[in-house]
């Protein structure tokens, strides 16, 4: 790039990296045909941006590594099996000798695109471990520093000290370079130094001097970033603009040439971030989406959209189909699959699954933490908590403080009541990350688990203050109110949450539940409807809607929703407590609709699964009474009263049942008479004369079938 020529919005900062060589003198490289795990090559032929110095064409981003691992190379050499992705060819002039002692030696080519989609700070030099090997027969040319112009040397020095985080050096030298050259790119790098050392205001001042921010896109970006750090959102918005000033009205998509993230996209992301901070979530959504549409490599924006619940599940899936992954060339499928695995697991599970398969087969990523997290997410959505827990623990073994897995892990432990483990986890987190919201979320969950609600509330609020976009902390906070029965507070907390996180149906669901508890059915209905719009697949939601209609005495609708919930739960095969509630509710609905048989079946199923419960037994007794099966009714009511003797309803029912019992005439069809006849046949007389009576079991069985009402117990025996 010549002096004063800053990159456009279609470029990234890679374009002005002092270490990137000039394009015009490049030897065009061959493009490597699709070799899935192979490295990618840069075709350097049509880059718009240029390095500051045409004369020197070299790319110190190429690491000159001998075949034998030399002393200076820190990591083992890997052979990617192709000509390494040279950023540019080397001139015959430049040579980097192996004696170069700085970090530049550790700089290497990035073969895979994965490395390229990292953040802007690492872009220069593309550090951290990616290696490639350049064989002797490749276009390796070494660079000789001595041949570089003076300013360039200083730039290299500044750059290296930046990488080594020696900010005072970097500032010192950078300042000198900028003073000497007056190049806006140098100003940019100096501002980077200020940013890294935390002096945001100095960076802002530097960049706004000389109208740098108007002339250079990058400087504008950096200014806005610094202002955001200073929390001056309005000013930042001014700089970045309320809408995308670069938006091409024709919608032409200019491909990014240098492998980084387009600055236009980053600016959109910043815009989105500002709007989020200003609580303008609609605009934030728009900007973030735009950021991705402009450049699909902007993972930051993607993560913001998905993990902060700004999009509803349906919106997420429609959005991803609109993204253009072709920018990524070889890595298109990879990134698309990776992005898919991050989407909501409430629907399109088969797509997620096939993405998983693709990733594990092609790229051997099945043990990668992100994929494990995606699996854990799926299991959590399906309420399969023990499996989810196992998976999380597996993942955490590799990376103990992985912040994407920890919230799921903590929630699982809470659901399963693992207080001990929660205690341990939160302590570890508190020791190592005292300022991180997840720590306090964990502590709050622990206190909820042991039922110390006020403590929990304190910690949840702390977590949400530290990070207002942490949805779990908000919902936890609201739950503490709900659990204590403070409906008003709970409602206000949930409402805030629903405003902040428009993509998740949970706040609306909980709002509806609160209104249900408070008895305001119309409002509850409204909120449930809202939640239903966002996500119609959640069995919990369907259950609550069923309860709502039950309370409104609209039993048919209630039945419909409860049956839907039942289907959903069956499909998920989960072991959660909602299974019981759904069945009980369904049984009560059948009871009200007069479908006694089914009601009995459902009640018995619940009893079988969960053991004895006073209310269920009482309801069962009631249904039996209606069906006029007195003995069973009395039995059930007795059991219910045994569990809870103060149950007034059960006592009244029992009285009624006994009255009915009294009025049952002791005639031929009374069970007592029949059983006594049975016994008579069997025993023979008690008199001294013993007659041989053979027990006619067959006849007895026939009598049973005709005489008494058969019980369910006998059915299984008959089948035998």
């Amino acid at each position: 790039m010549s002096r004063g020529n800053t990159p456009s919005q279609h470029n990234s900062t890679l374009a002005i990296s002092p270490l990137v060589g000039s394009r015009s003198l490049q030897v065009p490289q061959q493009r490597n045909p699709a070799n899935a795990s192979s490295t990618r090559q840069w075709s350097g032929s049509h880059r718009a941006a240029q390095t500051p110095h045409h004369s020197v064409t070299y790319s110190p981003l190429v690491q000159k590594i001998q075949n034998n691992a030399s002393l200076a190379t820190p990591a083992p050499v890997q052979d990617h099996g192709s000509t390494a992705g040279l950023l540019a060819s080397m001139t015959k002039n430049g040579l980097f000798g192996p004696t170069m002692p700085s970090t530049l030696r550790k700089v290497s080519i990035v073969g895979d695109i994965r490395r390229h989609s990292t953040s802007i700070d690492n872009v220069v030099g593309d550090v951290a471990g990616a290696e490639s090997q350049i064989g002797d027969d490749r276009l390796v040319q070494d660079i000789d520093i001595a041949q570089l112009p003076a300013a360039e040397k200083l730039r290299l020095w500044r750059h290296d000290s930046l990488m080594q985080h020696q900010y005072r050096t970097a500032e010192y030298i950078g300042d000198k370079v900028y003073a000497m050259t007056g190049d806006p790119n140098d100003a940019f790098w100096l501002a980077q130094v200020y940013y890294n050392s935390g002096s945001y205001i100095r960076a802002v001042e530097l960049l706004t001097r000389n109208n740098l921010d108007t002339s250079s896109v990058m400087c504008r970006y950096l200014t806005a970033l610094c202002l955001i750090q200073l929390k001056k959102y309005e000013d930042a918005l001014d700089i970045v603009g309320e809408t995308n000033p670069f938006r091409d009205p024709l919608g032409n998509h200019v491909k990014n040439q240098d492998g980084g993230i387009k600055l236009e996209s980053s600016m959109c992301y910043l815009r989105g971030k500002i709007f989020s901070a200003l609580n303008n979530f609609d605009k934030a959504k728009e900007s973030l989406k735009e950021a991705l549409l402009v450049d699909v490599k902007n993972f930051e924006a993607f993560d913001e959209l998905v993990s902060k619940n700004l999009l509803t599940p349906t919106e997420q899936w429609t959005f991803i189909s609109s993204l253009d992954f072709s920018d990524l060339d070889d890595n298109e499928e990879l990134i698309r699959s990776l992005y898919i695995t991050k989407l909501s697991k409430y629907l399109n599970l088969d797509q997620v699954h096939s993405a998983h398969e693709f990733l594990s087969e092609e790229y051997k990523l099945d043990n990668n933490t992100d994929l494990i997290q995606s699996n854990a997410d799926t299991l959590f959505t399906q309420c399969k908590f023990s499996d989810c827990l196992k998976l999380c623990e597996e993942a955490l073994e590799k990376d103990e403080f992985n912040f994407s897995i920890l919230p799921i892990y903590i929630s699982c432990l809470y659901e399963l009541g693992g207080k001990n483990k929660l205690f341990l986890v939160s302590h570890k987190m508190a020791e190592n990350f005292p300022k991180h919201p997840i720590t306090w979320f964990g502590v709050g969950a622990y206190y909820m688990c042991i039922n110390k609600i006020s403590e929990a509330r304190k910690y949840f609020s702390k977590a949400s203050i530290l990070d207002p976009s942490f949805s779990q902390a908000w919902i936890g906070f609201a739950h503490t109110y709900a659990v204590e029965g403070e409906h008003e507070q709970a409602v206000s907390a949930y409402s805030t949450a629903s405003r902040y996180f428009p993509g998740t149906h949970l706040p609306n669901l909980f709002l509806g539940m609160q209104y249900l508890l408070m008895g305001t059915l119309p409002l509850a209905e409204e909120y449930f409807a809202l939640a239903y719009d966002i996500c119609p697949y959640d069995p919990l939601l369907l259950n609550e809607m069923g309860v709502l209609y039950f309370k409104k005495n609209d039993y048919l609708k209630a039945k419909r929703y409860l049956k839907k919930a039942w289907e959903a739960i069956k499909a998920l095969d989960s072991e959660s407590k909602s299974w019981i509630s759904i069945h009980t509710n369904l049984a009560h609905t059948y009871r009200k609709l007069g479908d006694n048989e089914r009601a009995v079946k459902c009640f018995r199923l619940v009893l079988e699964t969960t053991g004895k419960d006073a209310d269920t037994l009482c309801a069962l007794g009631y249904v039996y009474l209606r069906m006029n099966r007195i003995e069973k009714a009395i039995d059930s009511l007795h059991s219910s009263l045994a569990l809870r003797p103060s149950n007034q309803a059960a006592q009244d029912l029992l009285k009624q049942a006994l009255d009915v019992n009294l009025s049952t005439v002791l005639d031929e069809s009374h069970p007592l008479v029949i059983s006594s006849k049975l016994q008579e046949q069997g025993t023979g007389t008690m008199s001294k004369k013993r007659t041989a009576n053979i027990l006619d079991a067959h006849g007895v069985a026939k009598k049973l079938k005709h005489g008494q009402d058969s019980s369910e117990d006998e059915d299984s025996m008959d089948l035998e």
């Binding site: 827990l389 079988e608 699964t609 004895k612 019992n661 009294l662 023979g684 079991a697 117990d713 006998e714």
Partner: protein
């Protein structure tokens, strides 16, 4: 890399360890065998020695004989472990030694991924036992601090009020009412894992779906375990079918038979079950087990006594020295109230097997009823010497104190028996009787209720409940309970009598009459049942059916004749009534006769009788 001599050394070492684990466990040195098994499982991988692998595989491997000779004495384990790999066998050794040392959680953990049915059974069974142990420990038992000061406690406060008794009972029962909720409890390790019956059941069912049809020993035990778990969950139908499956595969599991019996609660069910079983078990050997089952079934549900005697004789011919059979014989005598013969048989049993304590509590009941306190005392001392901490012993001691009229102590011992064995229904029922003696109806009701909760076939408990509620004047309840007891013992006239009196109290005269009639039919010598006859007469009078009334009055009076002038209240009243009746209809001679007979009774009655006598004499002249 291991070279051959080292590998050989390792494999020999492995063999030694394996053998040591087996032998030590056989002779009950559990801790040492556990150590050996742990060492065995912790050994490094040995490059495969071919002979060993084929040795372990199938019993019908052609190498078996050769390798038996080669490896000497390890025959017994291999016979039982068909199809187990050597690594699985080592795991089995470890798991079984852990089980023997009662470390159930560890055992289940090591067996976490097994597929072999026997190992799977071991795993699920140890999980179940661990759950059982933990829930027991969690349940509060207020018994323990008090039972330790059994004697001294009572010397200090000899006047234990009823209220205190009630409270103690209540607190004990609150511990026991948790038993009802126990089945839904889950044992929580607080780190996200938990065990509960539904979870174990689910795992079991999933496994059995895949493998459940192969009739191996391991699978039959898995079915048995499933039946047990369903029983705890209170789903008798599934439990019964599981037990039946288990028994078809492996009939010689007596506990399975007893569990099957305990799932049935009505006579008709028992009949049906018997029919099914007879069809299934055709083999001679299994027939024997079936006969044993029929014997115990008969104990509970009555049946054809001749058949019973036949079966018993047949079995006694095969097993003359089997104490269990003899106890069955004794029990049946006890149930038919032939106490003398029952006592004799028990004496025989004691001679045969002096330290056997099972069913001795029934013997103590017999001695109590026959009023032989010295023998009872001897039995109590002896039993407490053998093993003080068995439920049967405590029951015997309780009976002893009851015979000495020391009811509070007796109650204490019954409670102790229940702590030791919470399923001992007779203890609950007898404790209820004790409370009735102490006139504490509410506590009695609690006891009887517990008894019927555990065993709904105990007619005495139902009867007791009915009586207690009658005392409390809650007739609707007592009606229901009498009906239940009647359903269980429809050939016992006392039940019908109680039922009838209940109907009478609620003014259901028709029903009452029917019941009394039935009772009469059942009684051995209906002419002597003056109570029933008299009440019937009174009922007919209330219904204004004077003819029948008179009929019954006459019968009542005639009873007096056949008992050689034995006069009781009813006959007096009957005579008086007849006298009055005849006097009304001017049959003065009859009236005179009847009135003369009224010699005993209250002063009013005698006065009235004398008056009628005078009247009649006047009119007759």
């Amino acid at each position: 890399m291991l070279d051959t001599p080292f590998a050989n050394f390792l494999s020999e070492l492995k063999l030694e360890l394996r053998e040591s684990a087996v032998q030590l466990s056989r002779l009950k040195l559990y801790n040492s065998s556990k150590w050996s098994a742990e060492a065995l499982c912790g050994m490094c991988e040995i490059p495969s020695v071919p002979v060993m692998k084929t040795f372990m595989k199938n019993d019908d491997s052609p190498l078996k004989n050769r390798s038996n000779i080669q490896f000497g004495q390890q025959e017994s384990p291999q016979k039982y472990l068909a199809g187990m790999e050597s690594s699985e066998y080592d795991l089995y050794l470890l798991a079984s030694t852990l089980f023997e040392c009662k470390e159930f959680d560890r055992c289940a953990y090591y067996l976490a991924d097994t597929k072999h049915p026997e190992l799977k059974f071991l795993k699920l069974y140890s999980k179940y036992l661990s759950w059982d142990k933990k829930t027991q420990e969690n349940m509060e038992s207020s018994m323990t601090p008090q039972s330790s000061k059994q004697g001294s406690g009572f010397r200090d406060n000899t006047e234990m009020t009823n209220r205190e008794v009630m409270n103690r009972l209540r607190s004990h029962e609150s511990g026991n009412s948790n038993a009802l909720k126990k089945s839904q409890k889950s044992v929580d390790l607080d780190n996200g894992e938990s065990t509960s019956i539904p979870m174990i059941l689910k795992e079991l069912n999933d496994y059995l779906l895949l493998e459940g049809d192969k009739p191996t020993f391991g699978i039959s035990l898995l079915h048995y375990l499933r039946g047990m778990l369903y029983k705890i969950q209170d789903i008798p139908s599934n439990a019964i079918s599981s037990f039946l499956t288990s028994l078809t595969m492996f009939p010689f599991n007596w506990v399975c038979w007893t569990e099957l019996l305990s799932c049935i609660s009505r006579t008709d069910e028992s009949a049906l079950l018997l029919k099914i079983l007879c069809e299934k078990f055709n083999d001679e050997k299994t027939q024997v087990m079936l006969k044993f089952f029929k014997l115990s079934l008969f104990q509970e549900f009555s049946g054809n006594i001749d058949e019973f005697i036949q079966e018993l004789d047949y079995l006694l011919s095969i097993f003359p020295n089997f104490a269990f059979l003899k106890t069955q014989h004794a029990l049946i005598n006890y149930h038919y109230m032939d106490y003398v013969s029952a006592g004799l048989i028990f004496e025989q049993i004691i001679k045969l097997d002096p330290y056997r304590l099972e069913d001795m509590d029934t013997y103590s009941n017999i001695l109590y009823v026959m009023q032989k306190p010295s023998k009872l005392a001897y039995l109590a001392q002896f039993a407490s010497g053998v093993d003080r901490f068995r439920a049967e012993t405590c029951c015997i001691i309780a009976n002893y104190y009851s015979a000495k009229q020391e009811h509070e102590k007796s109650i204490l011992y019954f409670r102790r028996a229940l702590t030791l064995n919470k399923n001992c229904t007779s203890a609950w029922t007898l404790m209820g009787h004790e409370f009735v003696e102490l006139k504490n109806s509410h506590a009695a009701i609690e006891c009887y209720r517990r008894a019927v909760d555990i065993n709904p076939r105990d007619f005495k408990a139902w009867y007791g409940l009915g009586q207690a509620y009658e005392v409390l004047d809650m007739h609707l309840y007592s009606l229901y309970y009498f009906q239940k007891s009647c359903a269980l013992k429809p050939l016992d006239k006392r039940m019908w009598q109680a039922l009838a009196s209940c109907y009478e109290k609620v003014d259901s005269l028709e029903e009452s009459i029917k019941c009394y009639t039935r009772a009469l039919q059942l009684s051995l010598d209906s002419d002597l049942d003056t109570t029933i006859l008299f009440r019937l007469a009174i009922l007919y009078e209330k219904q204004n059916d004077t003819m029948s009334c008179k009929e019954y009055m006459i019968k009542c009076v005639e009873a007096q004749h056949s008992t050689d002038g034995f006069i009781n209240e009813e006959t007096t009243k009957a005579s008086l009534w007849l006298a009055r009746y005849e006097a009304k209809y001017k049959n003065f001679s009859e009236a005179y006769k009847h009135a003369l007979r009224v010699t005993h009774g209250s002063s009013q009655e005698i006065e009235e009788a004398r008056a009628i006598v005078r009247e009649c004499r006047k009119r007759m002249d």
